[in-house]
């Protein structure tokens, strides 16, 4: 008697579990599909000849795949030059920001000094300022000093905005170096700076890579400052260039979308691989993703 009851109970629980799991999978698939649909649509619009996309209603699945639009895009528009400018801005911003980040994270993580918390707060607040507020006075200052239309003067600003989050990222990484290791180095006669240089820094390589990624793509992705501080078309980076494509006649949809894909592929790959660090930096170390 008792055994049948428990068998029934087991059967009932199992059935409920199966229903629950099915619902869970349906929900997960639905959420994932909705989330990536815009990206999927960009891909479809890139790869499919526009005779299909410029048709209502457009087909949901690509009917034909071609790759010639990438060549047409680079041949018809100065995309290569835009990407080169973006790369230069991002590279300068990365070098400057990474160098300063190592120093800043070290002072914030390893050294004890009065004013350390004030320094941390200062960085936190600068990270939260809207870019527009800084833009107007900076634009006035740059135009008076004749610093507009130069790639380096743009990348130093990009680096200034990326610096706080980069310091937070690397500080978290430095914090996680076991103190025993540092003690051992000190006992062996290492000075603080050489401990930092020879032990903390090599142990923090992934964090350094994350910082470099954030600083690089801060410059690569940045739109607002680039659109205001660089006026000449010669110096136009890709983020600004892409927005001009829409207004040009003769730009086909698939070229427009292809340009977006070419621009996004690097940041997406690098951000996804470094997401854990970036999230810890964005929350000022409160969360390790």
């Amino acid at each position: 008697m008792t055994s049948t009851v428990s068998t029934q109970l087991v059967r009932y629980t199992r059935a409920r579990d199966t229903v629950g799991r099915t619902l869970l999978y349906i929900a997960i698939i639905a959420v994932t599909l909705v989330t990536i649909f815009p990206i999927y649509w960009m891909l479809v619009s890139t790869l499919q000849p526009n005779s299909y996309t410029l048709h209502y209603p457009p087909p949901f699945f690509p009917q034909e795949i071609r790759f010639a639009q990438f060549g047409e895009l680079f041949a018809g528009h100065p995309v290569a030059n835009w990407l080169k400018n973006s790369f230069l801005i991002a590279l300068m911003s990365m070098l400057l920001c990474t160098a300063l980040t190592v120093v800043g994270a070290y002072t914030l993580s390893s050294l004890r000094w009065r004013g350390r918390s004030a320094f941390g707060l200062f960085l936190l607040v600068t990270q939260m300022l809207p870019e527009v507020l800084v833009l107007i006075p900076l634009y006035i200052m740059y135009s008076r000093l004749d610093l507009l239309n130069q790639l380096p003067t743009l990348s130093v600003v990009d680096a200034a905005f990326a610096l706080p989050i980069c310091i937070w990222i690397l500080k978290g990484v430095f914090d996680s170096v076991p103190p025993e290791v540092l003690d051992a180095a000190l006992v062996d006669g290492c000075s603080e700076l050489s401990t930092a240089w020879r032990i903390v820094l090599p142990l923090s390589t992934p964090g350094l890579v994350a910082v470099a990624v954030v600083a690089f793509f801060a410059g690569w992705n940045e739109y607002l400052y680039a659109s205001i501080l660089l006026g000449s078309t010669e110096l136009m980076p890709a983020s600004v260039g892409l927005t001009t494509l829409k207004g040009l006649s003769g730009v086909q949809v698939e070229q427009y979308m292809a340009a977006g894909m070419v621009f996004s592929i690097l940041p997406v790959v690098f951000y996804l691989s470094m997401q854990r660090y970036i999230i810890s930096g964005l929350t000022a170390g409160a969360v390790k993703g």
């Binding site: 869970l24 994932t32 815009p38 002072t107 993580s109 939260m128 800084v134 706080p164 997401q275 969360v287």
Partner: protein, 336 residues
């Protein structure tokens, strides 16, 4: 352990937090502060100027490019800035502010900012919480699904707006196909020309881009909620809703609180998506304060007035930053 670094920092900001958690921090022992051990004390004395020397270039750098422009902006808001000519700037006192307080469009942009911010917080955090709860359960292909979910967050803003401008194209946009499935919709709506629709889309796009980040942070919080609590409650016969209300929600409450503040900072700052999707239009329906400042300065070359509104924006973001710091410190105290 993960929160230790922040805790050390927060405890200086809010000295009260220092008292009860002292042992926890001392357990690992900040290397250069260890009270025992003659080596550390000696080292500390020898290098006490070093931190200042190292922090100085960073403070200078941030001051030149972020702080001094803000200060100049505050000064400029009291003057009449003449950019093109060499005429000297004229001190106009509070004239720009008087104009700002009398300007209906300024108040309207504050309302738009509040609406936008609140909606993004609700939508993005709601979606983040929902997906985090779903993805907290074990299932096959979870790493793949999580990676796919993070893609919008990793996408740069400019291409995101390109995608959505295309998706929302009134003639060929794919969203029309979906909209026409709703009974009663027979025409393709002018998605970005109707004020309410434009606002809804700007909110949706900003939330779509932001929610994976919130989702991941909430997921991390969910995984730190003790499984034993769930087991105990299940033995006591709690149902799923009760489990959520009494264990999950309190367990992630501080994280949610932190994210609400963080989300309000991010959406208050939001510029590129709004600018490239609507430019603040139609008729100012999506003109947030940040957009309004930009338009005043770079469309109407009204720098002084833009500077005055910039001061208002600065005060608001400073307020949110202070709330963030307070919440952070309290959260850190709870985890210490």
């Amino acid at each position: 352990m993960a929160r230790r670094g922040w805790w050390r920092f927060a405890s200086r900001v809010v000295p009260f937090t220092m008292r009860d958690g002292m042992g926890a921090a001392a357990a690992r022992g900040p290397l250069f502060m260890t009270k025992s051990g003659p080596i550390s004390r000696m080292k500390q004395r020898r290098t006490h100027f070093l931190p200042y020397l190292l922090a100085l270039p960073i403070i200078l750098y941030e001051t030149i490019f972020l702080v001094s422009p803000i200060a100049q902006g505050i000064y400029g808001s009291f003057t009449n800035i003449q950019l093109a000519s060499n005429r000297p700037t004229i001190w106009v006192g509070l004239a720009n502010y008087a104009r700002m307080f009398a300007d209906a469009e300024f108040w309207s942009s504050l309302r738009v900012t509040a609406t936008f911010t609140v909606l993004v917080i609700v939508v993005a955090l709601g979606a983040g919480l929902l997906t985090a709860l779903l993805f907290n359960r074990p299932f096959r292909f979870r790493p793949l699904a999580r990676a796919l979910l993070m893609i919008p967050w990793a996408f740069p803003e400019v291409p995101v707006t390109m995608i959505f401008i295309w998706i929302l194209n009134p003639q060929f946009g794919v969203v029309n196909v979906l909209a026409r499935m709703i009974p009663g919709v027979t025409d393709n709506p002018q998605w970005l020309q109707v004020p309410e629709l434009a606002m809804a889309w700007v909110v949706l796009i900003a939330s779509w881009k932001a929610f994976p980040f919130y989702s991941l942070v909430i997921l991390a919080a969910l995984q730190s909620v003790s499984q034993e609590l769930y087991d105990a409650a299940k033995v006591d016969g709690a149902n799923t809703l009760q489990l959520f209300q009494n264990i999950t929600l309190p367990g992630i409450a501080t994280t949610l609180e932190l994210l609400v503040v963080l989300a309000s900072i991010f959406s208050f700052k939001q510029f590129s998506i709004v600018f490239l999707m609507t430019g603040g239009g139609p008729v100012g329906a999506t003109e947030t304060i940040v957009m309004r400042i930009y338009n005043a300065a770079f469309r109407f070359y009204d720098y002084s007035y833009a500077a005055a509104m910039g001061v208002a924006g600065f005060l608001i973001s400073l307020t949110i930053a202070i709330i963030f710091i307070t919440v952070q410190a309290r959260r850190a105290r709870e985890f210490a």
